[in-house]
Symmetry: C2
Subunit: 136 residues, 2 copies
């Protein structure tokens, strides 16, 4: 990642990249995508892209995540190298989570998708309403 996205591949090449691999299960692209396509991963990455946060801060920032899923999602993000976890030996030890370079490099493409969602959520809502009405 040198900051610019050039040489976009053709659609069929991109699709092949998603179905590559000796057997289907270990296609590298799907392997990576699945890690950032969980229910909470994108939200946490976007939050940490702003600035590092402590565990409790993230909990308050994202009030509808359960503590269990916050722990687990952060663990998974750390394992895949997107998030750095640092423990500070304060009286009640505090833990700070921050994005690594790899995590930061994901921000741009993720932002595109979020921005697309923002631009198109009206269209999606209308489509949904029309579909449900037609199903009467």
């Amino acid at each position: 990642m040198d900051g610019k996205i050039v040489n976009l591949k053709s659609k069929i090449e991109i699709y092949k990249a998603m179905t590559d691999g000796a057997n289907f299960a270990d296609c590298p692209v799907r392997d990576v995508i699945s890690g950032i396509n969980g229910k909470w991963s994108p939200l946490l990455v976007m939050a940490l892209a702003e600035k590092p946060y402590r565990f409790g801060e993230l909990r308050r920032l994202v009030p509808d995540i359960s503590q269990r899923m916050l722990t687990q999602t952060l663990y998974d993000l750390q394992r895949d190298g997107y998030v750095h976890r640092e423990v500070f030996p304060t009286k009640p030890p505090s833990v700070e989570y921050s994005l690594t370079d790899l995590g930061r490099s994901m921000f741009a493409p993720l932002q595109m998708l979020v921005q697309w969602a923002e631009l198109n959520h009206d269209a999606v809502r209308e489509a949904r309403a029309a579909f449900d009405a037609a199903q009467t």
Copy 2:
């Protein structure tokens, strides 16, 4: 979507877009994202971006999806307005699935993410191996 993505928002604005809404559940951006962030949705969208496919063709193209999940994922994509479903009254009626304009407009941002995944899957694999080794 007029083909160009301009005026990128600041990180904090993007995060706010993901946490907007009276209560957390109906944040528009998360509502939309959740629809395209399933296990199979991105793959099917990428496949249909190439050209329309019939049900059985998609099944063969993506051999590790179960019939149940293919049915359901296509249904959800149709409901959200990404996919058009057309039934042809042939002897065994055939059903063709194709991307709508809305679905096509999603291709660009999705492609960015896939491309990022392709570029960075080595880094992710290394991070994972290092993490697992450190956990000994």
